[in-house]
């Protein structure tokens, strides 16, 4: 018997600075059921779940467990009621090791020598959810995908009766997502209740029994997934038809934009993270790098954009050697960057939205004069981004950390793309975007490509890679396993390549055509 047979949220209201984030929300989830919570970016999903978890106090309304009203004033109480949560923004202590992070939240952590027991528990658990990571690594050394895995493990180990998952899969690979889904199914069979938030409708269709759809803080629909399809869900969310397929017309490659020659980069772990990678990118192309998180993607992206020093090798942009230049110089040569961890590297959370709209661009003539910023222009620029990229916020005089995750991502994208860069280095750019925004972004990337830009796309999401990219490389343990045209048959083996067990050229007698 689980403690929570039925959880209800009744007439929940919450507003921030007079703007409703949740209004009269009613929602029920039963034991042995998976409820999907859908809605556009900024619809109020995270806010609602934070209320359930005791992080926010509702302005009005009631939470009931098995029909009995309860008050949840902090996470200590929600946990004792049997509620657990995977947060959209990683709740990890960066300077601590993975094991310490798990020990912090695990319910049966012993008082003395906690790490020993946790190590055993994790080992036991990793038979279900692949967790081959060195537990002594510090969290700041991990990539976004690895951090997401730690977050999931943390929640699953506790095995809460009601588990809330707020976009748990945004930077996982398809294989990892499958493992997670299997575990959730098993929990469901055991009588746990689960609330699952995601913008990936396939997943929602796959595991949820019911969905509740939010729009601008209010419920606009409930449905059983068995009577629905993906299109219908999308329509309920954004109120229009969304196309999931994009048309990528054939374009002739233009001149060479980026050339990366045999670069070696050391990672945060102090070990080589990128080992002798070379490739060239051309105008009018989108080049995808697929791989399991933590195989050198982050270090490669950071090396190209100047955030990380290169040990050996060289990088040229439009013929200009930019090796180990400062990020700002590299930006001036036309390279934009959408980093993988938006909160840590993409924004200054405490600054206003308009300040964040010109990071790395503040020195441009149009935004500043000598020592002073031209705040009128800056604010206008911010407003343009907000309207072009449909960032939902009540004002530009708002600290950016108050925006919802997807809206922060939209602002970063707007900032990096609106200046028409020669080269855009983007790490999972659709991270946390809703279906409408994803469609918009994909169109936008294709438009950039048409206009002569080059995009270097890092993603764990294979579908995204196949849809957008002209050429695809697979990275494993810091090396490229091969570079293939998007229509190359050998891409069927991409799974094997991502696991490092196959290289292009293995078992074939085709010439290595990957060094273009």
């Amino acid at each position: 018997m689980k403690k929570i047979q039925r959880l209800e949220m009744v007439d929940i209201c919450k507003s921030f600075h007079g703007v409703h984030a949740n209004k009269d929300i009613n929602l029920t989830v039963n034991s042995g059921e998976i409820l999907g919570l859908l809605g556009e970016n900024g619809a109020g999903k995270t806010t609602l779940m934070n209320i359930l978890y005791g992080l926010y106090q509702p302005d009005g309304g009631q939470i009931r467990i098995n029909g009995k009203p309860i008050k949840i004033s902090n996470p200590v109480e929600s946990i004792s009621h049997g509620i657990g949560m995977v947060h959209q923004h990683f709740m990890l202590v960066q300077n601590h090791s993975i094991i310490e992070n798990i020990a912090l939240g695990y319910k049966d952590t012993p008082f003395f020598f906690p790490k020993i027991k946790i190590r055993e528990r994790v080992k036991e658990f990793s038979r279900q959810f692949d967790f081959r990571m060195d537990l002594n690594q510090k969290v700041w050394q991990l990539s976004a995908g690895e951090q997401q895995r730690v977050e999931i493990i943390k929640a699953l180990l506790n095995g809460a009766d009601l588990l809330i998952l707020d976009e748990p899969t945004s930077v996982l690979t398809p294989q990892e997502i499958r493992e997670l889904i299997d575990i959730l199914r098993r929990m469901k069979a055991d009588g746990h209740s689960i609330i699952f938030i995601s913008h990936k409708l396939d997943e929602i269709m796959d595991i949820c029994d019911r969905v509740t759809v939010l729009q601008k803080g209010q419920i606009v629909g409930n449905a059983d997934t068995k009577d629905m399809d993906k299109q219908g869900l999308a329509r309920m969310m954004v109120g229009r038809d969304v196309s999931f397929k994009v048309d990528r017309e054939k374009l002739e490659k233009g001149s060479q934009v980026l050339s990366v020659e045999d670069i070696h980069v050391t990672g945060d772990k102090g070990l080589p993270a990128v080992k002798g990678v070379s490739f060239n990118l051309y105008k009018n192309e989108i080049f995808g790098i697929a791989g399991v998180a933590g195989n050198g993607q982050r270090e490669l992206a950071e090396a190209i954009t100047g955030i990380r020093k290169i040990d050996t090798g060289s990088i040229r942009v439009n013929g200009q050697n930019i090796t180990n230049m400062s990020p700002r110089k590299i930006y001036d040569y036309g390279v934009s960057h959408v980093p993988e961890e938006r909160i840590r590297f993409g924004i200054a959370p405490g600054l206003f939205l308009y300040d964040n709209a010109i990071l790395k661009q503040h020195h441009l003539k149009k935004f500043s004069k000598r020592y002073f910023l031209k705040y009128n222009q800056v604010k206008n620029h911010a407003k343009t981004i907000i309207s072009d990229f449909k960032v939902s916020t009540h004002s530009i005089n708002n600290q950016i950390r108050n925006l919802s995750g997807g809206n922060i991502q939209k602002l970063i994208l707007g900032r990096e793309i609106s200046e028409q860069p020669d080269l855009l280095v983007a790490s999972h750019p659709t991270y946390g975007l809703d279906v409408g925004a994803t469609e918009f972004l994909r169109q936008h990337l294709l438009q950039l490509r048409r206009q002569g830009s080059t995009v270097l796309l890092f993603s764990e999401d294979l579908e995204e890679i196949f849809e957008l990219c002209d050429r695809v490389a697979v990275i494993f343990a810091g090396e490229l396993m091969g570079i293939l045209e998007a229509d190359d048959q050998r891409l069927c083996d991409i799974g094997l390549m991502m696991a490092g067990s196959k290289r292009v050229g293995d078992n074939t007698h085709l010439p290595e055509n990957n060094q273009v």
């Binding site: 709740m91 202590v93 912090l104 008082f111």
Partner: protein, 306 residues
């Protein structure tokens, strides 16, 4: 010569004891994310309370207990201001120092210059104290000395090897994440500040009833501030605090050794403070990520915000 060396080592241990106690307390407090600049004031309160109670009751250990109690009580002010009110911790800590110094001066007035006849006996550790040279210097010391070392080791063990220790450290690194894991951040911080205060007061008690056996206003002489610098020098690790404190104890003692060489005593009196500045300077060149400073040190935490 032999005698000089032995007595120098011995005095170094004595001078380092209050520094170690106060530093350990400050490490515990800062590890939870609260900067407490009130060490100097709490130390003074501890010193005066210990002195008065010992003098009137004739029980030094009662004096120590009273001092620790008083130090913990007065630290609640800082905990309340910085945790409950989310006030600026620098301001609140400075206020605590001023309050403590003023208060101790006031209540200690009638006792200024009165010698303490009750003595705390040195503890001689059997066998170890027979080691030539260092035996007598290190293993025949006041109980405070052993207490300081044991408490520092226990604190290290507590922080690194217990569940509560992980919770304290996480609170200082990322209170938001810590809260979501079901830890009462405010409670952890309150207790860290209060216990840190107890340590500072213990350091003060050592000064008045063991080190100088008398009370004068301002007898803490900046040792509280040095403890705050030592916290940084020890990289927020109570284990490292042990040797850091005794290195500084040595600098205090070296003054007296160098005096016969004709160096101005005023200059020599500056040595510990100059050493503090030099250390802070050297530390600031290190890679900040290797510094171990609690990430959210001195940042107030407001619940219910992103």
């Amino acid at each position: 010569m032999e005698e000089i060396i032995i007595s120098t080592i011995q005095r170094t241990m004595v001078a380092g004891t209050p520094l170690l106690l106060a530093t350990t307390g400050e490490v515990l407090c800062e590890r939870s994310g609260i900067l407490n600049l009130g060490v100097e004031g709490v130390m003074a309160v501890g010193a005066v309370v210990a002195f008065i109670v010992t003098m009137t009751t004739g029980q030094p250990w009662l004096g120590v207990l009273a001092a620790v109690g008083a130090g913990m009580a007065i630290s609640v002010i800082h905990a309340f201001a910085s945790v409950s009110l989310q006030a600026n911790q620098v301001v609140s800590g400075l206020a605590l120092t001023m309050l403590g110094l003023g208060l101790s001066g006031m209540i200690g007035k009638p006792y200024v210059g009165r010698p303490l006849s009750i003595k705390m006996e040195n503890v001689e550790i059997p066998f170890l104290s027979d080691i030539p040279y260092i035996g007598q210097a290190v293993f025949n010391q006041s109980p405070f000395f052993y207490l300081a070392i044991v408490l520092a080791l226990v604190s290290w063990f507590f922080l690194e090897r217990t569940r509560l220790g992980i919770q304290v450290r996480s609170t200082g690194e990322n209170p938001k994440a810590t809260e979501t894991q079901g830890v009462n951040v405010d409670l952890v911080r309150y207790w860290s500040v209060i216990i840190g205060g107890g340590f500072s007061a213990l350091a003060g008690a050592h000064l008045s009833i063991s080190y100088s056996k008398s009370w004068v206003e301002g007898m803490t002489a900046g040792r509280g501030w040095i403890a705050i610098a030592l916290t940084i020098f020890a990289l927020w690790n109570p284990g490292r605090a042990i040797w850091a404190s005794f290195v500084f104890g040595g600098i205090f003692v070296v003054q007296y050794l160098l005096q016969p060489l004709g160096i101005s005593p005023n200059f020599l009196a500056m040595l510990p403070y100059i050493a503090t500045l030099v250390i802070l300077l050297v530390i600031s060149f290190r890679d900040p990520r290797k510094l171990n400073a609690p990430a959210m040190l001195a940042a107030p935490y407001k619940r219910g915000e992103r």
